[in-house]
Symmetry: C2
Subunit: 150 residues, 2 copies
DNA sequence: TGCAAACCCCAGTGGGGAATGGGAGTATAC
DNA sequence: GTATACTCCCATTCCCCACTGGGGTTTGCA
């Protein structure tokens, strides 16, 4: 359960794609990166992860780019976080609590239980939001900003 | 909001100390490390952080060691996490979402809002447990284990 | 067919967390 | 008063994440 830079960038990219859904025109890495101020080459890697996770499909060649493969209301934030956290051979991450500990102590078991509960509540919150939800929040916030400047 | 190895180790050490509260005899790093299977020299640094945070006091010299400075039911897990996460010049950690971004985009603001909500729920859970609570859970679990082996 | 635009793969660099090590400081024990 | 048993502080090593770079491959278009 990371909520790191990685995850935020990926989420921003997906929001950008969701904003254009279901347009047939793919969005290019460069456009997304510029729009969301994400390092271009880094975003490239994150999009590869999202592609392997089945969230986006890519179109190579000139006029290529990325497209959402699912409807924005079917993708929860938890799905995205899971995709980026569990991505490919993040082998060591699960063992963060049982780090090189042969026999877990009673105390460590109790602490782990609390942490499982914490993670569970995190998952609960993250599962409550879809890309669609965030897009709507963005739109209403955009309206607010326009109102503000009048 | 880390929930990293650091925090778990510190928590285990505090639990060990809380188990002996309010004994006048200080516990040594070596004992805690052996009991909880924590690298000795690393635990040393974490205890320094806890000392600076006011959770423990140290006694130097022979027969020295560490003691809790507060009652175990007055220390919440959130207190501990805050102490270790916010410890000394972790200056960059707050800006993890606004990483080198001059003008935050609308999308990043929306994402940050969700993440604040996630962190808030985490804090809620962590604030609901004190060292005392975990000690009691450990004790009852110990009873269970004894029953199991009969 | 040629070429540029775009994705794709792999190999590095820099900083921070997770340790590890060598001493210096300080209190008790004899 | 010296030895001993601890804490304390500084520096170093190792690995992962955030990021950069150099190619290579696929595709659309003139």
């Amino acid at each position: 359960m990371e909520l790191s830079c990685r995850t935020e960038y990926a989420l921003l990219a997906l929001l950008e794609l969701a904003g254009h859904y279901p347009q047939a025109e793919p969005l290019q890495i460069r456009q997304i990166a510029a729009q969301q101020q994400i390092p271009e080459r880094y975003l490239e890697q994150l999009l590869a992860t999202l592609r392997r996770g089945g969230f986006v499909q890519s179109q190579r060649g000139a006029k290529g780019g990325y497209l959402l493969t699912m409807e924005p209301w079917k993708i929860t934030l938890l799905d995205v976080v899971n995709c980026l956290e569990g991505a490919e051979a993040r082998n060591r991450k699960e063992a963060v609590g049982t780090l090189a500990r042969i026999a877990p102590t009673l105390e460590s078991v109790v602490v782990d239980e609390v942490w499982q509960e914490v993670y569970e509540t995190m998952r609960g919150v993250l599962q409550g939001y879809t890309l669609q939800d965030l897009c709507e929040q963005r739109d209403s916030r955009r309206q607010m900003n326009i109102m503000y400047y009048i």
